[in-house]
Symmetry: C2
Subunit: 169 residues, 2 copies
DNA sequence: TATTGTTATACTCTATAACTATA
DNA sequence: TATAGTTATAGAGTATAACAATA
C-alpha cells in the first residue's frame, strides 16, 4: 500500500521526459515491478481511492466542496434534526473534527445548528434554504463525477464494486 | 465520501449503549439513511480502504511496519539499486516525504542508501541483509492480513476487486 | 457519573517552495 | 538550465485528552 498519487503522467501518456542515458529506461514508472504489492487489495484500493477523490474534488471545484463536506450535507439533508454525535458516528468522523466541518458549512450559510429543547447539550442539524438548493447542485455534480468513475472502470465493474463493498457503508 | 472510520462498534455488535429515551433509537448508526452516498463508489471505497489499512497496521503491529513502509521496502527489495525518484514516482509518494520514510528505515538498518557513481546526485537504494530477512517476515504477516480481507469480503470478491482495480497500480 | 459539544495538542500526510550539489 | 536529494513550512486529517454545560 502507499500514499499519494497526484497528477503524475499516466503510464500511457505519450512523450515522457526522461534522462538522456539508455539506462534511465528502467526507471520509467511502470517498468519497475511491484512484487508482492500486486497481490494486495489494499494497495490497489488505496491508489483507486486517491484517484477517485481527486476526480471528485476537481469535478466539484466550482462549488468548493470536498468529499467529507458532501457526505455531511447529504446525511443532514436526508435526516434533518440529527445531532452532531449521530452524524459523526454514522460517517465515522471524529466529533472533534465535525465541529470544524460544521463551523465552515455554517459560515457559508449552508447548514445551521439549532439548540435542541429536549436535550440542551445537543444541537439539531438542518440545511438552510440556500443549503438545500446548493446540495441539489452538489448532487448533480457528484453524479457527473460518478460517470467519470464509470468511464474509468466500466459500468458493470462500478456496480460490482458497490456490491462487493456495500457492507462498509 | 467521508473521512475516518476507527474502532467504532460494528452495526452487528450486540448491546450498543444508547441514551435512555426511545427517541435515541433513530440515532443508532445504521438507521440513519445515507441517501445519495449509497450510490457513490468513492464513499464505499474510502470506508473499505480505512478498514483495510487498520487491519494491516494491526496485523503488522508486532514488527511496527505501516503500509507505506511496506510498499517502499517491497519495491526496493524487488528492484535493488533504484533511485529515490524512481521509487517515489512508482509508488506515488512525494520525493520530499520519501526522504523521511527512508531516514526511518535506514535508522532501523533495514535499508541503505549507496552513493551512485554514474550520477553523483542520486542514491542507489538497497535492502540490508537484516532488511531482507525482515522483509520476508513482513511479507508473511502481510499475507495473513490479506487472508483477513478474504474473510471479510470473500475469496472471489477479493479477486474480482484486484481485477477491477488492477489498472490503478 | 456519563454525554454533547468544544477547545487544544500532537502526529501523520500532502503540497509547495527553496536550497545544494551535481548534471 | 535542469535534476536528485534535502530541508522547511503550511494545510488537511487523525487521535487524544480535557473542559463546561447538561443529563
Amino acid at each position: 500500500m502507499t500514499a499519494s498519487a497526484p497528477q503524475r503522467e499516466t503510464p500511457t501518456s505519450p512523450a515522457r521526459k526522461r534522462a538522456h542515458s539508455g539506462k534511465a529506461r528502467r526507471n520509467d514508472a511502470h517498468e519497475i515491478g511491484l512484487d508482492a504489492l500486486v497481490g494486495h487489495a489494499g494497495y490497489a484500493v488505496r491508489r483507486f481511492q486517491i484517484w477517485i477523490f481527486q476526480d471528485f474534488v476537481k469535478t466539484l471545484a466550482s462549488v468548493d466542496i470536498k468529499p467529507t463536506q458532501y457526505s455531511v450535507m447529504t446525511v443532514i439533508g436526508a435526516n434533518p434534526g440529527l445531532t452532531q454525535m449521530a452524524v459523526a458516528n454514522r460517517l465515522g468522523i471524529e466529533r472533534a473534527r465535525l465541529v470544524h466541518l460544521l463551523d465552515s458549512l455554517e459560515r457559508r450559510k449552508l447548514v445551521k445548528r439549532v439548540k435542541s429543547k429536549s436535550d440542551r447539550r445537543s444541537h439539531a442539524l438542518h440545511l438552510t434554504a440556500p443549503g438545500e438548493t446548493a446540495l441539489a447542485k452538489f448532487k448533480r455534480l457528484a453524479a457527473e463525477h460518478e460517470r467519470h468513475v464509470e468511464d474509468k472502470i466500466g459500468k458493470g465493474n462500478r456496480e460490482k464494486l458497490l456490491e462487493i463493498l456495500g457492507g462498509f457503508t
